[in-house]
């Protein structure tokens, strides 16, 4: 197995506060990893560092064997990393179809072209139809993304994220704010669209975490304190201690 993403002693500070403190993590190709941790542990910051939204102060991030430190988000994306956002981050004025079309253009090599006719691009159309089918929004294709329901917007968010067919997918709380049944649908969707891909996701919902993840990484105060299979994490006392302050452990890890 080859390493997809390798974090090597990554550090990030905002002013005097050290948010990420020498985090190291190795993700193999094809693995589904859940990143959990209490609020303020630095999960979203870590995602921002990996995806190029902010730059790390020390350490190295290696994607498919090459360092991506200092690269801009679009450069990292072109190297095969895609991410979703915790707060819905879509093109609200464009239709569902156009949202997804934008998301596949670069990966199919159309770049900044102003000499191709969009409606004549069969490969783009086929890919968009395929993604739209997967996220079950085909019926809503002509609706502006801004007026979709919350759950639909979250599905579109995942659709945009995976449309470019990147090998490594980062999902930031994909089921945040969803009802139980919506969340179950979302888990099925994530399972379906990440088949054959590497997945790293931040998630608070333990049902989702234990249902999807091959391995779980626990981030507390900017450090990975455990990285193991769900079964081992569940029985790891230091995780329970640190993550839950030793108070309500069994309830959530039941």
């Amino acid at each position: 197995m080859t390493v997809s993403l390798d974090l090597n002693k990554v550090c990030k500070r905002f002013g005097a506060t050290e948010i990420i403190r020498g985090t190291s993590l190795q993700i193999m190709q094809g693995e589904r990893i859940a990143l959990i941790g209490p609020n303020g542990a630095g999960k979203s910051t870590l995602f921002n560092l990996i995806s190029g939204r902010s730059t790390c102060d020390a350490g190295d991030i290696i994607l498919n064997g090459k360092s991506i430190v200092g690269l801009r988000p679009f450069e990292i994306n072109r190297r095969g990393l895609t991410r979703s956002f915790q707060t819905t981050n879509i093109f609200h004025g464009l239709s569902v179809y156009e949202n997804l079309r934008c998301a596949v253009l670069w990966s199919l090599g159309y770049k900044y072209s102003f000499w191709h006719r969009l409606n004549g691009l069969k490969d783009v159309h086929a890919r968009v139809e395929n993604v739209m089918e997967q996220i079950a929004l085909a019926r809503r294709r002509n609706v502006a993304a801004g007026v979709l329901t919350y759950a639909e917007q979250r599905a579109l968010e995942i659709g945009i994220t995976i449309a470019g067919d990147a090998g490594l997918i980062l999902l930031d709380e994909p089921t945040a704010g969803m009802s139980r049944s919506e969340s179950e649908t979302a888990v099925e969707l994530i399972r379906k669209v990440t088949t054959g891909k590497t997945l790293l996701m931040v998630e608070h919902d333990m049902n989702v975490v234990f249902g999807l993840a091959d391995k779980i990484a626990v981030l507390v105060h900017g450090e990975i304190i455990a990285f193991d299979t769900p079964a081992n994490i569940r029985s790891n006392s230091s995780v329970q201690e640190a993550y839950l302050g030793g108070r309500v452990s069994s309830e959530i890890f039941a």
Binding site: F91, H92, L94, L105, Y110, Y112, F114, L118, I160
Partner: protein
């Protein structure tokens, strides 16, 4: 479905071409031809501006820089042709303007498009002031206060076109207008254009699907500047001169106002805006000294109550007609319109009398308005204006709510129909 859309599209383009051919034949007086020339040029300029504002969300305060500098380049090119230093048919001069506009787009756009939003607007304002200042500092190129002039009737006639008669210039503009419109519409159907829409909506997200938002903005601006340059070249041929005013913030503001009036959400919006804007500027300024006041008030009303512009108003009413529900709003709409007209008439009479009183009272207190003689020193005129305004305002107050209600009900029904059609 697709063939239906294609057929409609072909019909629209052919109708557009036919209009361009017929309009100069119908409106063939000297003044009309001059008006048509300016409208055509402004249409290209407005469409190119909307690539930034409507499609890219870039509020530029300096679009006249590209058309203006291109106009100067075109003037110099025509002078070279006149001196026999280069050979080139005048028909192709707009292309020189386009290339010049594009080159300046490459230079200035590199600076402006590094930022978006307010910062972008600020930088464009800086650039337009910079270029305007340069136009007075570099008289060799800009001709100082008086500007530079040329003669378009130069060299041998090319295919029988000397461009002496204005009608030939009108058709030259019509030709380039058609070509540019096709070009800019084709642009809206390309990957880059869709990405500038995406960058307008959410530049941050665009970076995570592989696109450099800056570069998307930059390339779009360069293409927009190219078409602005064509408009500049045409205005150089039309007026045979260019001065500092061509690159000024005032001209840039006019482009912005006309485009917004027309409607930035529709491809053809800026064309509507150009027709209204040029008509108001040229015709209204000949009739009344208060034309800028009327234009300003009109602009404010559009910004506040109809941000989708005149094109938006047209399309919204067209949508109601398409679903066969126009008869249900027609009466209320007519009443509101009449009430507004009466109030406007009152305001216009009052404004005209005020202008006469403050600017031309030296020539006597009497003035002509709509064929009547009104004495601004007597109370009759003021009373008439006041009564009209009051009547209109009261009628408007009472007719507004029924209209709003009818309008909302009808549109909600249509939305429902569309929603059901999708589901």
């Amino acid at each position: 479905m697709t063939t239906h859309v294609n057929l409609t599209r072909w019909l629209i383009w052919m109708g557009f071409a036919a209009t361009l051919i017929i309009a100069p034949l119908v409106f063939h007086s000297g003044a009309s031809l001059s008006l048509l020339s300016q409208m055509g040029t402004m249409m290209i300029l407005g469409l190119s501006y909307n690539m930034l504002l409507g499609q890219g969300g870039m509020l530029s305060f300096g679009h006249a820089v590209y058309s203006g500098l291109a106009a100067f380049c075109a003037i110099h090119a025509m002078n070279y042709v006149g001196n026999g230093e280069i050979w080139m048919p005048i028909t192709l001069i707009p292309l020189i303007g386009g290339v010049a506009g594009m080159c300046f787009g490459i230079v200035f756009g590199y600076v402006t498009t590094r930022k978006s939003g307010t910062t972008f607007s600020m930088i464009t304002l800086g650039i337009v002031e910079l270029v305007f200042a340069c136009s007075l500092m570099l008289p060799g190129f800009f001709g100082g206060e008086g500007g530079v002039s040329t003669n378009r009737v130069t060299g041998k006639p090319f295919f029988g076109l000397s461009y002496g008669p204005q009608i030939q210039v009108v058709y030259l503009i019509a030709f380039w207008l058609f070509v540019s419109t096709v070009g800019m519409f084709a642009f809206t159907q390309t990957p880059l254009s869709r990405m500038i829409n995406a960058v307008r909506d959410n530049p941050d997200r665009a970076e995570f699907i592989g696109y450099d938002a800056q570069k998307v903005r930059y390339l779009t601006l360069v293409i927009s500047a190219f078409f602005a340059g064509i408009a500049g070249g045409l205005s150089a041929i039309n007026f045979e001169m260019a001065s500092a005013e061509n690159v000024s913030a005032i001209r840039s503001g006019a482009i912005l106002i006309f485009t917004f009036l027309g409607g930035i959400g529709y491809f053809f919006g800026p064309m509507v805006g150009a027709v209204i804007g040029v008509f108001l500027t040229v015709m209204l300024s000949g009739i009344t000294k208060a034309w800028q006041l009327y234009l300003g008030v009109f602009f404010i009303i559009i910004v506040m109550y109809a941000p989708s512009g005149v094109a938006g108003l047209m399309m919204q009413n067209f949508r109601v007609m398409k679903y066969g529900k126009f008869s249900r709003i027609a009466t209320c709409l007519a009443v509101v319109s009449i009430a507004t007209s009466i109030a406007s008439l009152g305001i216009i009479i009052g404004v005209e009398m005020l202008y006469h009183l403050s600017l031309e009272s030296g020539n006597g207190s009497e003035m002509n308005l709509f064929g009547w003689t009104i004495d601004t020193m007597k109370s009759t005129g003021w009373i008439v204006a006041g009564v009209l305004l009051a009547t209109g305002a009261i009628a408007f107050t009472y007719s507004r709510r029924p209209f709003q209600y009818a309008w909302r009900t009808v549109n909600a029904e249509i939305d429902d129909l569309i929603h059901k059609g999708n589901a």
